[in-house]
Amino acid sequence: MTTLTDPPKESFRLSMLIYDTRYRSMTIQVVAMLGFMLLFAWLINNTAQNLHDLGKEPSFSFLADPAGYDINQRLIDYDSQSTHLRAAVIGFLNTILVAVMGCITATVLGVFIGVARLSKNWLIARIMTIYVETFRNVPVLLWIVFTMAILIETLPAPRAYKGVETGALVLTNRGVYVPEPLFTNSLGNLHFFAGSPARFDVSLDLIAVLIALAGGLIARHFINARAHRIQNVTGKRPKTWHINMAVVVLPVVAVLVALGFYLGYPQLKGFNFQGGIYMRNSLIALWLALSLYTAAFIAENVRAGILAISKGQTEAASALGLRPKRVMSLVILPQALRVIIPPLISQYLNLTKNSSLAIAVGYMDLTGTLMGITLNQTGRELETVLIGMLIYLTISLSISAVMNWYNNRVKLVER
């Protein structure tokens, strides 16, 4: 007979921390944590010591001092007597502006080019290939300065328009002027946080137009839902497009007429054009270069996405009698989207991060204001760079969070 022996009662020995797999992972983690904390403490200790030697104790009080410099492009009001914090906010908004504009254009361009690269037209496909290769293989900084140089050298100076009748759109080598919406019976502005550094205004006219538009869209939704119900019951869908058009357009038009809407055209006065919306060269150069550059990458993702869809899908769609254009828009692209979106997220992130190259053309984004002139004038390298990095990190993480959420929504739910 065999007797069952009790497993030996193990008492905890120190060596088990290394040899016993149950404890070993704990040991490794504690060691890693300790190492990390030591490193961190070492860095902070050095920094404190060095800053003390330099006589520059870390302090963020400079943010409340008057900035002293002017910024040409500002989405909210600012002058040279505003604080450095306000200047940083201006820069932040400019970063967001160019990033959003860039992402939209790059996506549109990228999808178009990606599809065109697969075109049956040999010449078009080749041109697009050359485009993609040229833009992908030359540094984006070079493209930015290049675009800026082209804008400056090829477009006429405002002076050239002296005595010339200019229309709605004026192209100068300082920037582009487009008509601005103006209202004779303007409702004025809504002031938020008046008096504080975060103050900003929102036009009530814009809000009114948006409310009218939103109302129209909601009405349209109900009309469509009703049409859908009728179609389900009777099999016939009532014609709705004219009603839809009316409920969307009419309220907006009514509001615009009531407010006395008209377009303000740019006029040459003195040194520059006055009136109209002024899009500066620096913004256009940065926006164009970033869009064109990123579009080349997006085009490659789109192409890869389309090629990933099996040929059977195209053939089946053609067999249903769909025209090539509709095959693309109804069958291929929606499926390709699932493949395209994850790399698209990282392209958006890249574009946003690349927008920090704005200083090369003097666009006053976050790097230009906070990490540029403010850093220079105050000599607060540590504080400004730290704040700047944190802001960029927040922007990046937000973009990936939003896009990941969207990606999860459209992802094919596998059984």
Binding site: I124, M389, Y392, S396
Partner: protein
């Protein structure tokens, strides 16, 4: 019934296809003019191409090669539009080598050639002798010595650290165990590098002084600077990236969150802010009195930057490996490090090569950013060149030349990476 049906007993000779569907015309009909929309597109884009080519050629072909200043160019061109190539003739060497002493140009050139030799076992594995891998292992020590010069004992003692680490690892591995072996090996190497390597190399240098003329990194510039930063950063980021990727995939919560935190932080901020850190803050983070030169600092930050991206590439490679490989390694009784070293990593790294190449291309292009913090890379040099009174006002020629250089490098690398991807694909199916 008579046989009225007639069946041809021999085939008619094949008729030539209609002239409109073969040859040049047929090709054009199929590829250029297959519908009215396509025809319009073809004509428009054809005209566009002709215009661009004509414009570029008329600008490029300008007899200004010999000009010694922009004013001479203007005289030669006499009011016509045209490029001023004199600036390229005058400065192309500088755009390539920066301020590297001209009598030592053979060193960066030879290093560049050797770089290809060292990469050959990785890039074209089936076409070169396998023994060459030993040279590849030695190259990371040869390269800095060739570029920066100085005594040969520096890189030799540095390399000795790896040998010592390996020997200790083997010994302890056999006696105690794998993990302890690794810890002991790393510790032995660190002790060697931090405490012993300096004095030993110094003594050896006094006894037997073999070396090259030292060249300080501030003489690096132009394309050579871009390549040096790119290559060194990628080479250093590979091991760090592997560690980070393993850390991110590990089950250990703290290790994992440290790795994720590092990777996401670096990937979340623009490179330019990291370069600001290199140019203004890195010295503040170091113990008082330490002083790296700016190119070292840039290389450090570029390495950190690249390693975060590298970690993601390698993580992709690890994730792409079939689960059976992990299970197979486990079933053989290999422990974690053995299975990583013998089974997982060799395969994961292989399928990561295209990703690594594109990370390198990205980093290489991003090295132009160093011009923003005052380093004289090609773009920074273009500004310095324009500060010379003779070339003040030259724009397109310099940008065009730099763009061309980058295009040649990046395009050939991306072609190679595509070739590799194709090759790897056939390996799998």
């Amino acid at each position: 019934m008579s046989d009225i049906s007639f069946v041809r007993t021999e085939m008619l000779p094949q008729q030539a296809p209609p002239a409109t569907s073969v040859g040049v015309i047929g090709w054009m009909r199929a590829n250029l003019f297959s519908g009215w929309l396509n025809s319009v597109l073809s004509v428009v884009s054809g005209a566009f191409i002709l215009y661009v080519v004509w414009f570029l050629l008329s600008w490029t072909l300008s007899p200004t090669w010999a000009a010694a200043s922009l004013n001479e160019c203007r005289e030669i061109l006499a009011g016509h539009e045209g490029a001023c190539w004199g600036v390229i003739r005058d400065r192309w060497v500088q755009l390539l080598f920066g301020f590297y002493p001209s009598e030592l140009y053979w060193r960066p050139i030879l290093t560049f050639v050797l770089l290809f030799v060292a990469l050959a076992p990785v890039l074209f594995s089936e076409k070169v002798p396998a023994k060459l891998i030993y040279f590849s292992a030695a190259f990371p020590f040869i390269m800095p010595w060739m570029l920066w010069g100085g005594t040969i004992w520096g890189p030799l003692t540095a390399a000795a650290g790896f040998v010592i680490g390996y020997v200790v690892f083997k010994a302890v591995d056999r006696a105690v165990g794998s993990l302890a072996g690794i810890i002991a090996g790393v510790a032995a190497s660190l002790v060697w590098w931090l405490l012993l390597a300096g004095p030993v190399s110094g003594t050896l240098g006094d006894v037997l002084n073999i070396g090259l003329t030292p060249v300080e990194s501030r003489y690096f510039g132009g394309m050579m600077l871009s390549i040096t930063i790119g290559v060194v950063a990628i080479a250093c980021s590979l091991p760090i990236g592997i560690v980070l990727a393993l850390g991110r995939r590990s089950d250990l919560l703290i290790v994992k969150s440290l790795c994720v935190g590092f990777i996401e932080f670096i990937r979340g901020v623009p490179l330019i802010t990291l370069l600001f850190v290199a140019s203004t803050l890195l010295n503040i983070f170091m113990p008082p009195g330490t002083n790296f030169d700016i190119i070292m600092r840039v290389i450090i930050m570029a390495t950190l930057f690249a390693s975060a991206y590298m970690a993601e590439v390698i993580r992709g490679g690890l994730a792409a490996l079939p689960k059976g490989q992990y299970e197979g390694a486990d079933s053989l009784g290999l422990d974690y490090w053995q299975s990583q070293r013998l089974v997982i990593m060799p395969q994961a790294l292989k399928i990561s090569i295209p990703g690594i190449v594109s990370t390198f291309i990205g980093l290489f292009k991003d090295t132009t950013l160093v011009s923003v913090i005052g380093l004289l890379d090609p773009l920074g040099l273009s500004n310095a060149i324009r500060a010379d009174a003779a070339w003040n006002g030259v724009v397109w020629e310099l940008y065009g030349f730099i763009a061309f250089l980058f295009f040649v490098f990046c395009f050939s690398m991306s072609r190679y990476s595509m070739y590799l991807e194709r090759k790897l694909r056939t390996d799998h199916h």
